[in-house]
Structures are given as C-alpha cells and as structure tokens.
C-alpha cells in the first residue's frame, strides 16, 4: 500500500461479522459528542499486542481504554463459531510461551491461572511432493531418530544444528524475542548483555535458502526445514536464515488454548481487567486526535472524540500512519519511510467442520514443496497476482487436542490452501474467487486427507485476503503486519514509540519481525516498557 493508493483499500465497507454469541458493548455516543476522558491511554485494537500493552500498563496504574472495531477481541488470534463448530480466525498454535509468561509476570500473575494450554504432540507432520509422510515429535531425541531414517547423510549436520540451536534458544530467547531493538543503542545493550549472540550474525545475514542448503543435502530434509520462512511471511530466498530456528523452537513445545485461540487474548484481557483495563468492542476509531504532531486521543467513526494522554495503536503500522494520522500530518521523511514498507503476504483460510475424524496424525500437517518450487510460487505466481495450482498448504486440526471445538465425534480443520495467494487475483477479486477457492479446497481435501470428504463436510467457510482486510483492517490482507526481510527487522522495523508523532506508540506485528503469537505478545511487552519509562 502506498500513499497514492491507500484510498483504494477496502477499509470503508462497514464491518459486520456474524458472531451471534457475542454481545455488543458499544456505548451510545454520537457526532460532536466529546467524551472528556480521564484516560491515560487509549489502545486502538484488541489484538494480542494491544491487549498485552493495555494490561501491563493497567497494572502500572495507567487508566486504559481498549477500543476494538470488531465485535470480538483477538484480531488474528481469535475464534468464531459457525453451526456449533469453533474455528480459529488465523493463528493456530502458540510456541515459545516465554513472552506470554513474561506478560503475566509483569502483572504479578501466573499464565496457567488465566489460560489453559494443551500441549500438542507430535508438533507437525509433513508430506513431501512425492507423497512421503513424516511425523515430527516434540521430543528432540525421537526427532533425531526420524531424521536419521529420513536423511542419513544429513544426520550429523542435523545434530550440529540442533545442538547449536537449542543452546541459542536457551541462551538468548529473551534477547531475540522480548528485547527492545528499536535503536542501535538498544541493540548494543542486548549484545552486551548476551555477548555470545554475535554467533548468529552469519545466519542472520544469509537468506533462509542459503542457511538450509549450507547445512543439508537430502531433499526431504530440505523440504522439512524450508517452509518455515513462510511462517515469517517470506519465501526461502528472501527470508533471513534466522527463521530456520523455527524448525527447532517448536521442540520446546507447541500449545493450543482450550476453547480456541481466543483463549489467549481472553486470558490477557481478564488479567488486565483486574487492574481496571476497560475494553469496548464494536467501536471503530476513524482518526487520531492530533494537536500539531502530538496525539491527544481518538475520533470514532460516529464523530465522538475521546481524549487521553497518549495513544497506542495495535493496527498495522501503515494503517496507523496513513489512515489514522494521515500523510498530510506526517513529516515528509516519515511518509517516505512508511511508504517504503511492503505489507506481508496474505493467506486465505478455509474452515471445515467434519462429522468424521480426518486421516491426520498431528495438530499441523504441512504439504511442503522443494525450495525451488517455493521460490517459484513466490516469483511466478504471487508476485504476478496469480493463484498457484499447487503450492504449500497447511492443515490445522485443533479438535485433535480439544474436543470442545466441535459436537461429539465431529472435527474442525482450519486450512491454508496453496500459499501464498495474491491480494488481487489477476483480472478478478476474491469476492468472486471465493466459491472457486472453496471447491479447490474440497478437491485437495479429498485427495490428501479424506477421500469421501464431500459426504462429511457439515460446514465450509472461507476467509479471503479481502475478508481479512475488511474484518481485521490488515491492508491487502497481510497476516504478519509488514513484510519481514533483513531490511525491515529490528531497528529498521516501525518503532514501538513513534518518532513522527509525539505520544503515539505502536504495537503488534508491524513492530516485530514475523508474526505469530509470541512475537505479537513480545511487541506488546516492549511497548508497555516504553510507556512506563516515558510516563511512569
């Protein structure tokens, strides 16, 4: 999205999501009404970053109001119900629970008192282009055995990778995930605290493809460690080699919150509410209330103004600066900076309710591809606005570990089919492609998971990139905020404390690399730290 075309983005259609079990909590206000507030902070967006920041600063005595435009909290990490089946909007697991633990520690609480996490084991299965199936268990010794059978020639390299990776995760988890990296001096502080972290620099500078091909030769092995770059929203040739660590970090455990992914934002919000955090849903913020280049509150879509000492935006950074602030209110260098970022890739999701157990054996099943094919899909299809006929897919089967998600004996699948897919399919749009995509999903489901799927599908729904844009205000449906390449990470990603607008703070995936639950939560922690330092 660039300044010139941001108006074409479909933000304007009214958001109307059918979550029948959610009561609207919107307050009666109207045009011209000024809610003279004694709020210290207004948080725009009840995604994980916004709720984390809001809850931590509430604990620190800031009177905080969170405004969410949808009828339900959580953003991408949420759950909706359709005919008795509960589907997760986007996020499907939480790995690296340390940022969540830190969040609750900052509130003097315990994670387990607010969120019931079930561990998923095996962590994933993957199916190669030749149809070979492998299952990766959580236990690292058992995984070593899988690798030894799958790729004996890469076994020693794997052991080396595993040893180094596990040491790194143990040594520098907090540094890599939860540290402030907004400036060179902040990054230097991290480096001084964890001096051995410099050893990741060569991996960090390489692309993901170079990193994995430098270590492994076997094509099944390469297939098993290459797709993770898409978890950060980039193809193997553009993603940083550091994303290879995702293949290891999952061995620390992947977890699913009982009742659906919404359990995580609910848990954080409930803890925050004990310190006075106020959350209103169904309230859309139209603009930031500005005095010069200083945030003074927000203006809602109905014209109501709510004032506060400072504002935190959990929206995509491009939306925050170009839509809420407005390019005309930004210095020219800031417009150029915001303009230069690409948004992350979109991912259409298919939600399937089945009256039969699917033929799967893990929470996640990945239909992987060769590294070359993943790069080709990016360059030849995604970048040319084409939907690939076959590409990487990921099926999440949450009812495997949580039977509360579907009626007894029934199951839920949340499916990313043929990723990545473009925001604007050439000569068409997603509203028109929706039925075709559903049919493609069913066809692949029959081919790979359940031959008689068509007879057992009770619910079939799709969220297209256009739906994500309308419902979650993700420009172009990008699910990970901004594109995560080497030049938009750490101090080159959007700062948690805006330098263009005083008293504006940002949180969420736009301010932290990748996406996913841990990084979104971590961004909330970093933003809260800034606020406490600035206003505490």
């Amino acid at each position: 999205m660039r300044v010139s075309d941001y108006k074409s983005i479909a933000f304007d259609p009214p958001v109307s999501i059918n979550y029948p079990w959610v009561k609207k909590t919107i307050r009666a206000c109207g045009p011209g009404v000024k809610e003279v507030a004694d709020y210290d902070a207004i948080v725009i967006g009840a995604g994980l970053g916004g709720l984390t920041t809001g809850s931590i600063i509430s604990k620190n005595g800031f009177k905080t109001l969170v405004l969410e435009q949808a009828d339900i909290i959580g953003g991408c990490c949420s759950t909706f119900e359709n005919q008795g089946y509960k589907f997760d909007v986007g996020a499907s697991i939480v790995e690296l629970i340390r940022p969540l633990e830190i969040t609750f520690e900052r509130m003097g609480k315990k994670l387990e008192d607010y969120i019931e996490l079930c561990q998923c084991d095996p962590i994933y299965a993957f199916i190669t282009p030749e149809g070979k199936r492998f299952t990766i268990p959580t236990d690292i010794d058992e995984t070593n055995e899988v690798v030894r059978r799958m790729a004996p020639e890469d076994y020693e390299s794997w052991l080396e990778f595993e040893k180094y990776g596990m040491w790194l995760l143990d040594y520098a988890m907090d540094a890599m995930i939860c540290s402030d990296m907004n400036t060179f001096s902040a990054a230097l502080k991290v480096l001084l605290k964890y001096p051995k972290i410099y050893s990741i620099l060569p991996t960090f500078l390489k692309n993901h493809e170079m990193a994995v091909k430098g270590a492994f030769k076997n094509k099944d092995m390469l297939a098993s460690v290459s797709f993770q770059s898409f978890f950060a929203g980039a193809p193997p040739y553009l993603g940083s080699g550091i994303f290879g660590m995702i293949a290891l970090s999952e061995h620390l455990g992947i977890y699913y919150p009982r009742g659906g992914m919404i359990g995580i934002p609910n848990g954080i919000m409930n803890a925050g509410k004990e310190f006075g955090l106020e959350v209103r849903t169904g309230v859309k913020v139209e603009k930031l209330l500005l005095e010069g280049r200083e945030a003074k509150g927000v203006i809602l879509s109905d014209g109501t103004e709510i004032t506060s000492d400072f504002v935190v935006s959990n929206l995509n950074g491009k939306v925050t600066y170009f839509k809420l602030v407005g390019p005309q209110n930004l210095p020219r260098w800031a417009v150029k900076a915001v303009d230069s970022y690409k948004v992350s890739m979109p991912c259409p999701m298919i939600y399937v309710g089945l009256d039969k157990k699917p033929e799967l054996n893990a929470h996640h099943t990945v239909f992987t591809d060769t590294v070359e094919r993943m790069n080709e899909v990016w360059d030849e299809y995604y970048m040319r606005d084409l939907i690939p006929d076959h590409a990487m897919s990921l099926i999440c089967w949450p009812s495997e570990c949580d039977d509360s998600l579907a009626p007894e004996g029934h199951h839920v699948l949340n499916w990313i089919c043929n990723a990545p897919a473009p925001y604007s399919p050439l000569g068409d749009n997603w509203d028109r492609c929706k039925d075709w995509y559903k049919e493609e999903g069913v066809r692949q489901l029959e081919k790979n998971v359940l031959p008689d799927a068509r007879d057992h599908i009770q619910v079939l729904d799709v969220s297209t990139p256009l739906d994500f844009e309308r419902r979650l205000l993700h420009p172009q449906g990008g699910i990970y905020g901004l594109f995560s390449d080497l030049t938009s990470l750490a101090m080159f990603r959007m700062n948690n404390r805006s330098r263009a607008i005083k008293n504006l703070y940002l949180t969420g995936a736009s301010t932290h690399f990748g996406g996913g639950v841990p990084t979104a939560v971590a961004s909330g922690v970093v933003t809260a730290d800034y606020i406490i330092k600035d206003h505490g």
């Binding site: 400036t183 692309n207 493809e209 170079m210 193997p236 040739y237 553009l238 600066y321 260098w333 800031a334 150029k336 900076a337 915001v338 230069s340 970022y341 790069n375 390449d485 080497l486 030049t487 938009s488 101090m491 080159f492 990603r493 959007m494 700062n495 805006s498 330098r499 263009a500």
Partner: protein, 47 residues
C-alpha cells in the same frame, strides 16, 4: 605505479564479476533485493 593500480583495480573488478556469476541465481536475487532496500534504511530507522 599508476598502471599497476589500474591493473589491480581491474583484477578486483573482474574477480567480483566472476564471483557474482558464480552465486546461485536465488542468492543474486536476494542481494539485488536487499540492495534496492538500502536507500530506505535511514528513513526506516527513524520512523
């Protein structure tokens, strides 16, 4: 001396060109991509 300097500079240039073409196409694309982003880094640092 000046001729020697020119020869050395040409040799370095030739080595760089040869090295460039020995890289995998995807690595070359990666480097070109990063190169195109470099002018934005000062702006990105301050936003």
């Amino acid at each position: 001396m000046a001729t020697l300097k020119k020869v050395l500079a040409l040799a370095v240039l030739a080595a760089m060109v040869a090295g460039w073409f020995q890289l995998k196409p995807s690595t070359r694309k990666y480097i070109v991509y990063l190169g195109k982003q470099v002018p934005y880094l000062p702006y990105r640092y301050f936003i």
